[in-house]
Each structure stands twice: as structure tokens, then as C-alpha cells.
């Protein structure tokens, strides 16, 4: 019986995270989910939010964007359009990105552009959320 899970997070730009963890919490489309080893195989979508990976008594925090997750007994594979470790988040930049995206949303946009801007907004919100919780 595996006591750890292989957590892999990849984005179109890079492999963001690949570690053996004891437990992972992720923002599923139907609510937050905590995954332990030997979870039943499951496929679901993830929404922008925060991932907490518990590894050797420490917690790794990541902000992720939209994506999919595939869970098998020993592996959690997350494909997201964004993934940033908490320590790499630049709060000022994220805040700036959020304001920019909100300003753009107020303008008149076609569907394609609106989708892009909404994704950007969700990304910056997820980053801010992770950063602010991390501090307290």
C-alpha cells in the first residue's frame, strides 16, 4: 500500500510540480477535495484556486488555473493552464493584473477576448488568495 501520492502538476509552459506527497487538497469543480493515497480513480475538472500539498510535515501551496485532474490510487495528475508556487507569486504584480483585467472586463469585448480576460482575472485572484492566506 502506497503511503504517498505522486503529485504532478503540468502547465502548457512547464512541469510546475512533481513530488511525492502524503495528501493534497485541490479546488474541484464540485467543491474542495482532499485526496489521500489509494483514492478511487477519479477524473474531474479543477477551477482556479489553491492547492495544498502536505509533504513530510510541510505544506506546499500553489495557485492554479482552470484545468483537469486525474486521480489514481498512487498518482494525482493535474493539467492546468497556470500553476505558480506560493513563494514565486509576486503579490503586487498579481494585484496589478487583477485591476487591469477588471478594467478590461468593463469594456465591450467579444466572446473570445472576454474569455481570455476572465481567465486572466481568475488567475490573479487565485494567486492573491494563496498569497494572502499564506501570510496569516
Amino acid at each position: 500500500m502506497a503511503a504517498t501520492l505522486r503529485l504532478e502538476i503540468v502547465t502548457p509552459n512547464a512541469k510546475a510540480y512533481s513530488e511525492d506527497v502524503e495528501m493534497v487538497t485541490l479546488p474541484g469543480v464540485a467543491g474542495e477535495m482532499g485526496i489521500y493515497p489509494n483514492h478511487v480513480p477519479l477524473v474531474t475538472q479543477v477551477v482556479p484556486g489553491e492547492i495544498i500539498a502536505r509533504r513530510g510535515g510541510r505544506e506546499d501551496l500553489l495557485a492554479i488555473g482552470d484545468g483537469f485532474v486525474e486521480i489514481t490510487g498512487e498518482r494525482v495528475a493535474i493539467m492546468a493552464d497556470m500553476a505558480i508556487k506560493a513563494e514565486n507569486i509576486d503579490e503586487a504584480k498579481a494585484e496589478e493584473a487583477r485591476q487591469r483585467a477588471e478594467a478590461r472586463l468593463a469594456e465591450h469585448l467579444d466572446d473570445e477576448e472576454a474569455a481570455v480576460v476572465k481567465a486572466a482575472l481568475a488567475h490573479s485572484l487565485a494567486q492573491l488568495k494563496v498569497k494572502r492566506q499564506h501570510r496569516t
Binding site: 504532478e8 503540468v10 509552459n13 512547464a14 477524473v43 475538472q45 483537469f68 473570445e112
Partner: protein
């Protein structure tokens, strides 16, 4: 026998050509680095996506999606991803040779890149649409191509959708490749095609059924289109990396050849000059002799 002036002129013109090809080589080299990087960076995501989709399709069971529907193949849609510009060696020639293999009667083509469109127009094949993509392909561009192809498939105007593109292997090697995108039940071909990932069967031993949250239909409905778009995006990246690599190599060869040519011509020029001087000396000597 060319005069010394003719040779001098040739040398000058070859030098100019060398200068141009050298500049193009430099430009291609810097673009190549960027294109290769983004192509390689996208591969882990693409292969993971492939694995997951392989599992999902394999275990979806009775759940089907219109995108997975397998039909008798009467018409075939082929997306050709070529370059916009030439001067990249045999890249496009190789691609078009593959393109010409599909049957003329029942194949509809979608061109991405101007070279493919020109080829199809020249050979009078059935061109359904033409798309362009930039030096740094955007996800939106891939999505536009895929949306068009998906509509063709869903409306029943094409029973299979394949992509013909140049797979980037290394700076020196690029290989034209055909990958079937739709219907998605043919996912195994895609899995094996992109970067030789294991087929879904070997990945799957041991595990049982998958749970889909919230519902299989919803997960498939989101996953399948995203998978297709991303696959197309990765293909554009691969094609770009191939193009820039091929151009860099072609231009490097051209520059080397030009330098070789300059060397040969300079040698010939010097020989001719020497011969002329010898001739003149002879003439002077013989004239002096005659005077005596």
C-alpha cells in the same frame, strides 16, 4: 574565357548573397531557440493529456460524445500545417509529397500556412479553408483551426480529421507526420504519434473504473474540446520549431557554399591575373628582342 573583370564582379555578387544568407541564418537561429523551447516545454503537458484522455476514453464505457463517434470513412479532412515562407530546405517539399498521397476525390484540405494553400491551389485540390499562424503561435489560432475542423466533423462533412505537420526531432532532423485527431476513439493513434508515449493499455493495468465528477458527460464535454485545441496548439509549436530549425540549417549551408564559391573564384581570378601578367611580360620581352 571570362575576363578578370567578370570574375571580380561575380565574387562581389556572391559575397553579397553570402551576407544576406548569413543574416537570415542569424535571425532563424534566434527564432529557432525560442520556438524549440516552447515546443519542448509543451510536451509534458501534451503527453499527460494524452495519457489521461487515453484512460478516460478507455473507461468511459457506454458514455459517448459526438466527437468520439466512429463512422464509415467516406470523406477525409486533412489539415496541412506548412510554413508561410520558403527558404527552409526540403521541409515543405517533404510535407507536400505526403499531402499528395491522400485521395483527391474524397479529401478536403484545410491549410495552415501560405505554402500549403499555394500547393493545394496549384494542384487543384479541394481547399476548405486557409488559416495563418504567427511566429509564436497563439492558443487562439489553434482554437480557430480546430473549431473549423470540428464543425466539419460534427456536420458530417468529414468522417475523419487528420493533421499533417512536421514533427520536430532535432535541429538537423524534422519528419513529416500524419496524426488522426477525430474521431477521438482513435485516440491510440494520437498517443503513439505525438512522442511515442505508451499506449493506454499498458498504462492502465490494475486500476478499475473511473469516477467522473460531476458527470461523465460534463467532464468529457469539457475535456475533449480542450484536448483537441491543445493538441493543435502543440502541433503548431512543433511545426514552427521545425521550420526555424530547417531554415537555420538551410541558410547555414547556403552561407558555407557561398564562402566556398568565393574561395574558388578568388583562386581562378588570381590565376588569370598571373597569366595576364606573364603574357604581358612575354610580349614586352619579344618586342625588345625584335628591336635588336
Amino acid at each position: 574565357m571570362p575576363s578578370t573583370r567578370d570574375i571580380r564582379r561575380r565574387i562581389k555578387s556572391v559575397k553579397n548573397t553570402a551576407q544576406i544568407t548569413k543574416a537570415m541564418q542569424m535571425v532563424a537561429a534566434s527564432k529557432m531557440r525560442k520556438a524549440q523551447q516552447s515546443a519542448l516545454a509543451g510536451r509534458p503537458y501534451a503527453s499527460l493529456m494524452n495519457q489521461v484522455l487515453g484512460n478516460v476514453v478507455y473507461y468511459a464505457g457506454d458514455i459517448t460524445d459526438p466527437l468520439m463517434e466512429k463512422r464509415e470513412m467516406r470523406s477525409h479532412c486533412v489539415i496541412i500545417v506548412s510554413t508561410d515562407k520558403g527558404l527552409c530546405g526540403a521541409l515543405n517539399a517533404n510535407l507536400m509529397r505526403e499531402a499528395a498521397r491522400f485521395e483527391r476525390e474524397n479529401t478536403v484540405y484545410i491549410a495552415a500556412g501560405r505554402r500549403a494553400a499555394q500547393f493545394l491551389a496549384r494542384t487543384k485540390r479541394n481547399l476548405a479553408a486557409e488559416f495563418t499562424y504567427k511566429d509564436a503561435p497563439l492558443f487562439g489560432e489553434a482554437r480557430a483551426i480546430m473549431r473549423f475542423a470540428r464543425d466539419l466533423f460534427l456536420e458530417g462533412r468529414a468522417d475523419q480529421v487528420s493533421v499533417l505537420y512536421t514533427q520536430f526531432i532535432s535541429t538537423l532532423t524534422q519528419r513529416p507526420e500524419v496524426v488522426t485527431l477525430l474521431p477521438l476513439s482513435e485516440i491510440k493513434a494520437v498517443t503513439a504519434g505525438v512522442d511515442g508515449v505508451k499506449a493506454p493499455e499498458d498504462l492502465m493495468h490494475g486500476s478499475t473504473e473511473f469516477i467522473f465528477e460531476p458527470t461523465p458527460a460534463q467532464v468529457l464535454g469539457a475535456l475533449l474540446p480542450h484536448y483537441l485545441n491543445f493538441q493543435m496548439y502543440q502541433i503548431l509549436l512543433e511545426a514552427k520549431a521545425s521550420e526555424q530549425s530547417a531554415r537555420m540549417v538551410a541558410m547555414k549551408n547556403a552561407t558555407d557554399n557561398a564562402h566556398q564559391l568565393i574561395k574558388d573564384l578568388t583562386l581562378e581570378y588570381n590565376k588569370l591575373r598571373q597569366a595576364n601578367i606573364t603574357n604581358e611580360l612575354l610580349e614586352i620581352a619579344s618586342a625588345a628582342m625584335a628591336m635588336q
